[in-house]
Assembly symmetry: C2
């Protein structure tokens, strides 16, 4: 993939002298950026763009050029690619649109294109993309004009499933103080997809963080795997989550939307930071460009009391703790000239101190004596104070570099002075308190994820239990078979027997002990209790016999299940399904109305780690019910975690299972017990 | 209050020639802004600032100056105010800090200050404020340097309970394209509070919208009243909602934080738009600066497909509908030159059209043929396209003005061209899709509120029911008395009788009909069922007699309540309390775990309108339970609304009631019925 990012020679195909020719912009961009390799242009008519002559066929350029960039009508592309192949070109960026994203004819054309590249062993980016930028090597291939003045080299690389979005990220990461490294617009992913580019960037020594803009996932599980093993933070801005967006995304470059709750869960599980907008991405990138935030202790230092109050609210919302300041800090600060009027609370309100040098001293004293996990410094300054404010920013940059501690500097001033200052310093400057705290929180979450999931093992047994005989049928498995499967996977189930007539049922109940439940065993009855197929709390053999007779009256050949009633506990639902992007997924929610009415559920991609299972339980809003409310005893979370892990194993080890529900699983003060289960195979 | 905003003469007190003198900045600001009135300076030493001579006593300046601005150490302020009084000054801005916000001694000083102003009939802003700006009259009184170049006159006025925040809003509203009008930093509110300033601004002809930044409320109910009667939109940025912020807000200028959920509910109820950050406020102000958004139909037009996908997601999240485009629109667009390649879906992806003139034509065709409630136009442009992009913005501004329809223009480009363009056009430009949609949604919400609540009446009866005899005691009222009160207010209650012994209880049960509940009547037992003081579902006289005997065994002199069991329905909780800021507040939530575990509750300030009561029910997450789930019948919302309105009246008409709970109220398929109630008086 090196040829795409660091080509020693480039030919641009589709160039003309006309001012509205787009391929011409590629030549101009390369020259403006100072690209130092060989540069050639091919077009339908001879001429020149800047100092680059236009020749009329690929055959006229030297053999073995590193990279071709094609921007012509789609119909011409396969033949041009073939011509490139003949001249020894093996890497091509195809920017032309009009392929599978556009029409059926375009799809056919894209197939032809794939055949041609296959013949020559060519690899390509696109088609239908705005292409590749590598600021490190002065490579700038988009057909939109880009000014090198507005770009800034830095550690963040971008992979975007939209050309327009890739350029916005190039602009915004450049002006944010973070800086951009490599930017790829991936178009129709006809050859490489996002995980191929990601693999390359994870190995790229100058890329330190990666931003992905995606409208669909090529291979969600592979993305998770790469992210899990990556020491570089990955930010995913995933759109196309609504019905409205799908209408256009389909005609654009993307595929069907996944269940967005599963997307969020899968990304979080793999330590990927999901963002919601351009601005949010930039805030997170700024936070990650600072040294890592290792915990929740934050000190806020502000010139304006009002901004300090706002910041304290935001900090609390993001889970930061404003620890009290120490006597030692106070002792050090009091030695500074004129620092006697500061009220030393956290937030530190600098009040009427007008000495920018003193602010830096206070920041440093704070780091030295309190060692908080992060500092948020808010500088509101007027237009006559720019010199001092700029010196302060430079000083903070130095302090951050020397101490290896994160200080988020958030500035509010008139006009465009923040942008002016940003061009002068390497420290990313935040323009809004919310953004600064979001950036610090993202860094903390990433760090916490690394600590929590570092070296974790997912529980997949060497020899999976043999449950094939219970799964033989395709479609819905009967309750008793589903419960057998649960039992084989060490999920405790309420003892049961089957019966075909009232007397058998009564005898079974006697053996099981009272009270018992009686259920119709029919794979086609999904909501048994709605259909009158369940009777609970039968206290003696007579009751069992009577109810069994009622159930069998309408359908004498059905089987019945007699089941011992479980003790009192909290009803939960464990579920599993196969997502077309992420594969086996485990669901958890509290029983009753929590899942169906309140949609209070959480997901993880299987296999789960123990930490994943713990996090799932923490994520549901009704989790307090597990702690025991109104005098009830807390229930056995450990048993619930084991059940989640077992279900995860089942889904991984038996890919024939497309859906599972254990509903309810009753979690008791000690242990848990599955009462009903449903498995669908396919 | 006119003297504060449009003084014909000003004296600044506390001025010296020293460069670090802050009062000096006030003189410089006034001169920089071109203030045309008389200007005087008083300080401890003679000298001059610019062309303004400094005299050493207030007596040396002419009699009857319109406005004095004082910025000296706090201790000197009362005598200086007295001197001002002697020279006929009746309006003073006191910027000095060191009063009640600082220390006990400061509080005493503030009291003395109030005595002095009382003697002369002086009105004042502050103390402890950064003061007043009126861009319309070139008045700029803050002690921080402000550049007139960075300010822009417009329709938005600001009232801020923080000097620093007031300046940030002046800057941000100026650079947002909205423009600022009057900005007031209210300091300690020792004389005027926020509602006084609000009253003035509501009458101010050049103020068209008002931004309030508040850390506490002076008089929440008065604020609501003013907002309800105001045709001008009011935005409230309320901070100080966390424990962390209160630590500093107390030492700053603010008071105890109110329950933030009540704050949100009260503001929404009064049609006030609550914002969460500077950026959010500016987005809302931009949205309100456009013509009103009258509904949910939005058309998105974008040059970049990726941005269109992102925008569609955001639009759906904010409740907008992307209606399909009409044949008529398509017919008109197809007549435009080169418009044949646009895929006419909503969002409209302009794709490979590079003609900015055409974009404006499409916007206009959209308004004319589709008449959507709003258009979001996203322009991603490169640095070589600035001319066309600027012309487009000007053209859109003209279209908005001529059509009276809202078009939110959101631009993404390199460097600072958005700011450059913003200085050239009156149309507010959004820099992020999320902000644009938020702005449009705020405008829509405001419009919807006005339509819904216009001319509504709140139900307060002419003659309140006489329930005094049931409320005679101070403290907790017994259940039977509380139910009597409910009944008097037309809230149906489950029939009951009281009894003192088992036989009385059994006879009462016979009269009421079975099944019945038996409850201990003791005002001190709050959670009766936890304390074993409730037995439900007793089916005959024997059971009643037996259970009554058990209850009376431990405490023979208590009374019992025998109550007819209510039918099956949905349990809800109605509550009421007195908030120290907003007065009587009504609470609503679903029963059981919904309130206590899930905190799924909603509030409104009493008296409620019918629309308020309807909205409360719509706001709880579990509302679907009222529609009937799993085959149950929907319950009687109308009866529930009546019960909420009755409770609201009770709270308004009996201020002696500090707390009420009707828990549960059972809402049936027809009607509703209160089963238990609790009233606290005080």
């Amino acid at each position: 993939m090196q040829h795409f990012f660091d080509p020693h020679s480039i030919v641009v195909i589709g160039v003309s002298e006309r001012p509205d020719n787009l391929a011409r912009n590629i030549i101009i961009n390369l020259r403006n950026f100072g690209y130092r390799g060989q540069l050639y242009a091919v077009g339908r008519q001879t001429g020149s763009v800047l100092d680059v002559p236009i020749v009329t066929s690929v055959e006229e350029i030297p053999q073995g050029i590193d990279l071709a960039v094609i921007l012509t009508p789609a119909a011409a592309v396969p033949d041009l690619v073939d011509a490139c192949g003949r001249t020894g070109i093996r890497s091509i960026v195809i920017e032309s649109g009009g392929f599978s994203e556009y029409s059926e004819a375009g799809r056919v054309l894209e197939e032809r294109l794939k055949q041609v590249v296959g013949k020559w062993g060519i690899r390509f980016v696109g088609p239908n993309c705005i292409s590749v930028v590598n600021l490190q090597k002065d490579v700038c291939l988009p057909f939109a004009s880009i000014s090198p003045i507005g770009t800034r080299l830095g550690p963040a690389s971008v992979i975007a499933q939209s050309g327009g979005v890739s350029i916005t990220y190039l602009d915004q990461l450049s002006s944010s103080g973070v800086g951009a490294n490599k930017v790829i617009s991936i178009g129709n992913k006809a050859d490489f997809n996002e995980t191929d580019y990601l693999t390359f960037l994870l190995d790229d020594p100058t890329t330190q963080m990666i931003v992905l803009y995606l409208e669909s996932f090529g291979d969600g599980r592979r993305l998770m795997e790469l992210a899990r093993s990556s020491p570089k933070p990955i930010i995913v801005h995933k759109s196309n989550r609504s019905q409205a967006s799908q209408a256009i995304a389909l005609s654009h470059t993307a595929a069907l939307a996944a269940d967005d709750r599963i997307v969020s869960a899968a990304l979080r599980q793999a330590g990927i930071l999901r963002t919601e907008s351009f601005e949010d991405t930039v805030s997170v990138a700024r936070g990650l460009a600072l040294p890592p935030v290792r915990g929740n202790d934050l000190v806020i230092i502000s010139r304006s009391g009002g901004h300090a109050v706002i910041a304290a609210d935001v900090a609390e919302r993001y889970g930061f703790r404003l620890a009290p300041l120490s006597d030692e800090f106070e002792r050090v600060v009091r030695t500074f000239n004129r620092a006697d009027v500061i009220a030393l609370t956290n937030p530190v309100d600098l009040g009427t101190i007008f000495d920018f040098g003193l602010y830096a001293q206070i920041v440093q004293a704070c780091l030295q004596t309190l060692a908080p996990d992060a500092i948020l410094l808010i500088n509101t300054y007027s237009i006559t104070e720019t010199d001092g404010a700029h010196r302060l920013a430079q000083r903070v940059e130095q302090i951050v570099r020397e101490s290896g501690r994160p200080v988020a500097l958030c500035v509010y001033t008139q006009g465009d002075d923040r942008q002016v200052l940003q061009e002068q310093v390497g420290l990313p400057l935040f323009g809004e308190i919310e953004h600064a705290v979001r950036g610090l929180a993202a860094s903390r979450d990433r760090y916490r994820w690394q600590m929590r999931h570092h070296g974790e093992v997912v529980q997949v047994a060497d020899a999976p239990p043999d449950v094939k005989r219970w799964l033989s049928a395709t479609g819905v498995v009967t309750t008793d078979a589903a419960l057998q499967v649960c039992q084989a996977y060490d999920i405790p189930v309420a003892a049961w027997e089957t019966a075909s007539n009232p007397d058998q049922a009564a005898r079974a109940a006697d053996r099981l002990g009272y009270s018992v439940a009686l259920k119709v065993l029919d794979a086609n009855v999904t909501h048994k209790s709605d259909a009158g197929g369940v009777v609970l709390g039968l206290a003696n053999a007579d009751q069992v016999r009577r109810e069994a007779a009622v159930m069998l009256r309408g359908a004498p050949c059905i089987r019945l299940m007699v089941q011992r009633m479980a003790g009192e506990g909290v009803e939960v639902i464990l579920g599993g399904k196969r997502d077309h992007t992420f594969g086996p997924v485990v669901m958890f929610g509290l029983g009753g109305i929590h899942v169906e009415v309140l949609e209070d559920v959480t997901f993880r991609v299987a296999p789960l780690s123990r930490a994943d299972a713990e996090e799932m339980i923490e994520e549901v809003r009704g989790r307090r019910l597990l702690d025991g409310v109104r005098g009830k005893l807390p229930v056995d979370r450990k048993a619930l975690i084991e059940a989640l892990l077992s279900l995860s194993r089942l889904l991984v080890e038996y890919p024939c299972i497309t859906e599972v529900d254990i509903n309810p699983l009753i979690v008791l003060h000690r242990g848990c017990i599955a009462v009903d289960a449903r498995i669908v195979t396919g």
